[in-house]
């Protein structure tokens, strides 16, 4: 029944207008001048719909996941739900106060002390003085900055700063909470604490909208998921089905959408095994390049392997291995990535065809998952893997050295 609804979104849309004149009229004088020159012409504008025709409902106490690639409309949706910006069409009904864990430390002022900032930031996020008073100790404790409460935050280390900022936001007590996962901040240890806090919130019985790029954390936390793509909902439903829909959308549509072609050679027939593959197994990527008869010089190809944080961990440029291709013949290319071993997680592959510049590029040409097992005899020791970008293939040898005699050890 409808009385236990927390969020209802109907036909929501947000358009940004993009100007099509080559020089934007950003100053009053320019606008006035343009109006004087062409009194009747309206500046050419085109509406870009960052979000269109989006409808969904969230029940009280439900944890709804929102996933989508960059630019799919996730941030716009959050900005509309938090009323930072207004919608162009449609309607949002909210049964409860909305708190957001979107951006930490907004409103933190470097000159103010930790204590002053907790109160200021708390009010900005919508907490009342009483609420902050009550939560103050918990906030300070969570951030671990007791000793520096009366120091201006400009003297804080960046780690202390984000910890305090996150702690304030994490202690919001609104009925509805919007959480963006990229918010897990700080060093590894504190990130874990952040994620833990987000989990607590999610299982707390509050209504949560959890935004993430990572299907894995969504699967753990959410009851239901909507997948956003190009400003619309492409899927809404149970988590496991959504995961497949999301992976599918990552594989097909976006590859074409984020394609930048400047020349005649085109990448085609991309085949990347989505896995999961084990960390030490070779990763294979096949694609073909459509030939063109009048291209003057040989070209080379490159593939970037990018991890979930967006770090390019491998740039497999065919020039390095001496591969140049003939543009007049169809080419079937196979890339085998044997080393380094990869950490478990999801990876994206971008493909490029270049000669003197980039001729064709396909961002997000494919995705693959590396698998949960770790190829070391010692197994997966979290601490031992915490700071590696990739998994090195390494070994140790140790010989017991003869005991050092005491006369040498002593300083003379």
């Amino acid at each position: 029944m409808s009385s236990d609804i927390a969020i209802r979104v109907e036909g929501l849309g947000k358009a940004y207008s993009i100007r099509h004149q080559h020089n934007d009229h950003v100053t009053l004088a320019q606008v006035a001048l343009e109006k004087a020159k062409h009194p009747l012409r309206r500046s050419e504008r085109e509406d870009f719909w960052a979000l269109r025709d989006v409808s969904f409902e969230v029940k009280q106490g439900e944890v709804l996941g929102v996933i989508g690639r960059n630019g799919a409309g996730k941030s716009t949706l959050l900005k509309l739900l938090t009323r930072i910006t207004g919608p162009s069409e449609g309607q949002i009904d909210l049964w409860g106060r909305v708190g957001s864990l979107l951006e930490v430390g907004t409103g933190f002022h470097p000159e103010l002390t930790g204590r002053e900032n907790v109160y200021l930031n708390g009010s900005i996020l919508g907490m009342s003085r009483k609420e902050i008073d009550r939560q103050f100790d918990a906030i300070v404790d969570f951030a671990g900055v007791e000793k520096f409460l009366d120091t201006p935050v400009k003297r804080y280390s960046s780690g202390m700063y984000v910890r305090l900022a996150f702690a304030v936001a994490a202690h919001l007590e609104t009925e509805i909470l919007l959480v963006d996962e990229v918010l897990a901040v700080g060093d590894q240890e504190f990130q874990k604490k952040c994620l833990g806090k987000m989990h607590d919130v999610a299982v707390d019985g509050r209504t949560v909208l959890f935004v993430s790029h990572q299907i894995a954390s969504i699967t753990q936390l959410c009851d239901r998921v909507i997948v956003l793509d190009s400003g619309g909902i492409t899927f809404g439903g149970p988590v496991l089905v959504a995961a497949e829909a999301y992976n599918a959308s990552m594989r097909s549509a976006p590859a074409m959408a984020e394609r930048r072609t400047t020349g005649p050679l085109r990448i085609d027939d991309i085949d990347i095994d989505p896995g999961p593959v084990s960390a030490d197994a070779p990763k294979i990527c096949r694609f073909s390049v459509v030939p063109i008869s009048d291209f003057p010089v040989p070209y080379f190809v490159s593939a970037h392997v990018i991890d979930q944080r967006g770090v390019v961990i491998a740039q497999c440029d065919s020039r390095l291995v001496g591969l140049w291709l003939d543009p007049t013949a169809p080419q079937g290319v196979t890339l085998t990535l044997r080393q380094p071993w990869l950490l478990p997680g999801e990876y994206r592959v971008d493909l490029f065809v270049c000669s003197s510049g980039v001729i064709d590029s396909v961002e997000g040409a494919g995705h693959f998952t590396v698998g949960p097992s770790i190829p070391y005899p010692g197994g997966g020791i979290d601490e031992a893997l915490a700071t590696s970008l990739v998994l090195p293939d390494f070994g140790y040898t140790a010989e017991e050295a003869p005991a050092v005699s005491s006369s040498v050890a002593k300083p003379c």
């Binding site: 029944m1 409808s2 009385s3 609804i5 209802r8 940004y16 950003v26 100053t27 009053l28 004088a29 606008v31 900005k79 509309l80 739900l81 938090t82 009323r83 930072i84 910006t85 207004g86 919608p87 162009s88 069409e89 449609g90 309607q91 949002i92 009904d93 909210l94 049964w95 409860g96 106060r97 909305v98 957001s100 979107l102 951006e103 907004t106 409103g107 002022h109 000159e111 103010l112 002053e116 109160y119 200021l120 009010s123 900005i124 996020l125 919508g126 009342s128 003085r129 201006p152």
Partner: protein, 287 residues
Amino acid sequence: MSTELVSETVAPPPPPLITIKPRRSWLPASPRELWTFRELTLRFAARDVTLRYRQTALGAIWVILVPLLGAGILTFVFGGVADLPGPPGMPYFVFTLAGMVAWTTFSQVTNRSSSSLVGNAGLVGKVYFPRLLLPISTVLSTLVDAVVSLALLIVLLLISGIRPGLGVITFPVWFMLVVFLALGIGLIAGALMVRYRDIAYILPVAIQFLLFASPVAYTLASVPENTRWLYQLNPLTGLLEGMRWSLIGTERPSAWVAFYATAFAVFTLATGIMIFSRMERQFADVI
């Protein structure tokens, strides 16, 4: 509630707490909401006051020094160098300090409220609160300076034995009108400044011009007869004369001048609120 119940007995869903729709209105979204956010308004004001004197050696003493220095300079230039006649039977300094109470309130509210949105761009782009809070909070933070200047003036009046007349009870009204005028201009300028940063350059020049074009440090009597009508078109003239009449008992502005200034101030504030509300929803997109 069990689903076996007949549908008529099911209570209708409660109305939503918040409804968000597209709106382009000339009226503020919800005046009541401003009240629910009063704590944040106060906190913004407190932050501004704290920051103003943090990491200064003299700290809060500046609150007292600044109006004294300001009035001192004006007295030296207008009363000393230009040797203009002040009102009879009154030290020139008292006269300028009274003018300064009105003037500083006007210029500070205009300056601070107009730049409050751009100055808090990070907040505007990332958190929701009624945007009107920012300019309004600058009025509150300016009150601190006004109260200190007033206290100084009262001390001076006691020392020099000048008694304001019965007109002193109208002081809050004059003060309010000055704030209305300044906030109105600040709202219009602030809303425009979000898109056109040019305003940030125009406004200080305009305010500086107004300082000399208004009878802040000289009496209207020292203005030649034939240009006096021009002065009276300036709404600040009426407000300054009115406030000075209430504080130190100088000549009372004519009913016409007072009425004109009042209407102008109220109209400016109303226009300011309308333009601000109309543009409010786009602030986060263009700031």
